[in-house]
């Protein structure tokens, strides 16, 4: 097994969740790297969708913006925002990938403010398309560093809905049935959600870390899946594609 860093581990673990033929709504950064890796490594028919209108591109290089011309390079369609969002609303998008400043045990995400909304300590960009993706795609995936300042008991502001206050809350609010958070992939672990309580739980831990390490970097009590396994390491082929084709300038994976 070749040497790899934790960002590469995180991206490879994320990419494996995207099966061939699935549709995924994605932004820039690590989620985009994971999506490109999946398309090149094992899911050639992955339908990649960008909120500004790019549909099913064959990404030549990593986009800088979710609306730059890479996002519809050799695409099947250069559409618009309504086309993309309505494709998600219609139920044709399996996954979305999100980031955010804070996430809580129900997978609610904050990308709006730290502190009180009326007098914020820090103002962030806001929803953008995140709430739209998280409300309407079938399964939400999040890629973010494991850090107790990010994994908090209660987010300051629910920008994007996770399971809101718990089981049944999404449906009660009016969101579509059977949607919601699915995986959280970090530099230390892959987490999912307990089917009953809808709370975040550890499912696999990356080599070199323990459950306690993950818990220590999580600001709430993390549940355990019935069987917590070691995350499979990146394969040599995955690393080659990631380093040579996906991110040759190492913008995301670092040095």
């Amino acid at each position: 097994m070749s040497e790899y860093n934790t960002i590469e581990m995180m991206i490879c673990a994320a990419a494996r969740n995207l099966e061939d033929g699935a549709a995924v709504a994605v932004g820039t950064g690590a989620p985009c790297a994971a999506t490109m890796l999946a398309q090149k490594a094992h899911s050639p028919n992955l339908v990649i969708i960008f909120e500004a209108g790019g549909i099913a591109p064959l990404l030549p290089t990593m986009p800088i913006s979710v609306g730059d011309s890479r996002t519809y390079y050799k695409a099947v369609m250069a559409s618009g925002m309504c086309e993309v969002m309505e494709t998600i609303q219609r139920g044709m998008v399996d996954y979305c990938f999100l980031g955010g400043a804070q996430i809580d045990m129900y997978g609610n995400i904050n990308s709006t403010v730290i502190g009180d909304w009326h007098k914020p300590k820090v103002r962030f960009p806001g929803s953008g398309g995140a709430n739209d993706f998280g409300s309407m795609a079938w399964k939400i995936m999040v890629i973010t560093p494991q850090d107790s300042r990010r994994f908090v008991e209660k987010v300051d502001f629910i920008t994007t809905p996770g399971y809101l206050e718990g089981p049944g809350a999404r449906e009660r609010a009016g969101l579509a049935d059977n949607t919601g958070p699915y995986k959280v992939i970090t530099n230390m672990a892959v987490m999912g959600y307990d089917p009953e309580s809808k709370r975040m739980r550890a499912e696999s831990i990356h080599k070199g870390y323990t459950f306690d390490d993950v818990q220590e970097n999580t600001g709430f009590e993390l549940l355990r899946a019935p069987e917590v396994v070691e995350t499979p390491e990146p394969t040599a082929e995955e690393l080659r594609i990631l380093r040579e084709e996906v991110d040759p300038n190492r913008y995301i994976i670092g040095r």
Partner: protein, 332 residues
């Protein structure tokens, strides 16, 4: 009448009344007359203090940079702004302190490039009245306006704080009993969109993604078009399938080659990442940023002069190579 289940507490900056909008559009001219003018004339004529402004494109992709600069240069104030798909355009308008009300879907950030220190300072100053939305929510508001109806239903946002601080409502569907969020129509007073080709009357062609510009063009009371190049009416009529904005929506047509710079223009030139980084870096020191704005915006006669200052055609040629994935130092 729908049963209202929940209401956001945010302010509604524009009247969603469809009949008032119809009255306005009834009076909008349908005559086929030339609307060609300079950006300075267009902004002077159609952008007014206190009005509601929206900018087309996607932040640093196919944006009407010349119009944004001119609005700042003419020191327009107290406007309301649609912070929708906005990045570098927002950064420019925040630098000019152009608006004091903001509908927020995405602001302050320049996506993967980072956050604008100055725009953030402006939004945290307490001077800006704001309302939260999402990208699709704002697109729905424009879509409702474009369709001539006062609201549009959707299935996002419900149950979140984004909804709580919006001016949307949740209602029960009279057919199924399901909850739906409904978004009020938004008819901006004035918008600007950058396109690839237009004729002198305002018939426009766009290549690549349309983002929310087709809806925006139809929703706007006044529309300023900047175009990479003017083409003849004959050419427009030779391929009507290619027209995405018809002339009667348009009030001004300004020919501005490279007009999305430093943003990306699909199939023409890529974004100037060095110049965008310069903006982000220089903003960290307010004094230095003031001088930067003097140099790059206030002292400029027009967009062409700004483009020259940034490297002119030589720089554009480099960005053209980037756009077309040509490695100028390549092995061939």
């Amino acid at each position: 009448m729908f049963e209202v289940i929940a209401e956001g507490e945010g302010p509604l900056f524009m009247d969603p009344d469809a009949d008032k909008a119809r009255e306005y559009f009834r009076s909008k001219k349908r005559a086929l007359v030339s609307k060609v003018m300079t950006v300075s004339e267009a902004v002077g004529k159609f952008v007014h203090d206190g009005e509601y402004l929206a900018i087309g494109g996607f932040g640093a992709n196919r944006i009407p940079t010349a119009v944004c600069h001119e609005i700042v240069r003419q020191r327009k104030k107290n406007m309301a702004f649609a912070g929708h798909t906005s990045t570098h355009d927002f950064q420019i308008l925040a630098a000019g302190e152009v608006f004091n009300r903001c509908d927020i879907a995405y602001i302050i950030g320049l996506e993967a490039r980072g956050l604008s220190t100055n725009a953030r300072r402006y939004m945290e100053s307490g001077k800006i009245e704001s309302c939260e939305w999402t990208n699709y929510a704002m697109a729905c508001r424009l879509k409702a306006a474009a369709a001539g109806v006062s609201f549009m239903p959707a299935r996002n946002i419900m149950g979140t704080d984004t909804f709580k601080y919006s001016a949307a409502k949740v209602v029960k569907c009279p057919f199924t009993g399901e909850n739906y969020v409904i978004y009020p129509a938004l008819w901006p007073d004035v918008s600007a969109i950058h396109v690839h080709e237009a004729d002198i009357y305002g018939n426009c062609r766009i290549k690549g993604i349309s983002i929310a510009d087709l809806e925006l063009a139809r929703a706007s009371k006044h529309l300023i078009i900047t175009t990479e190049r003017l083409i003849s009416e004959e050419e427009i009529r030779s391929d009507p399938t290619a027209t995405v904005i018809p002339y009667y929506l348009v009030d001004a047509v300004c020919e501005v080659p490279y007009g999305s710079y430093p943003g990306n223009m699909p199939y023409e030139y890529f974004s100037d990442e060095d110049h965008l980084r310069l903006w982000l870096n220089v903003e960290k020191d307010p004094e230095e940023f003031k001088q930067f704005l003097e140099k790059y915006i206030y002292r400029m006669r027009d967009f062409n002069q700004y483009l020259e200052l940034c490297g002119g055609i030589e720089r554009i040629n480099q960005l053209r190579a980037v756009e077309n994935l040509i490695d100028l130092n390549g092995r061939g």
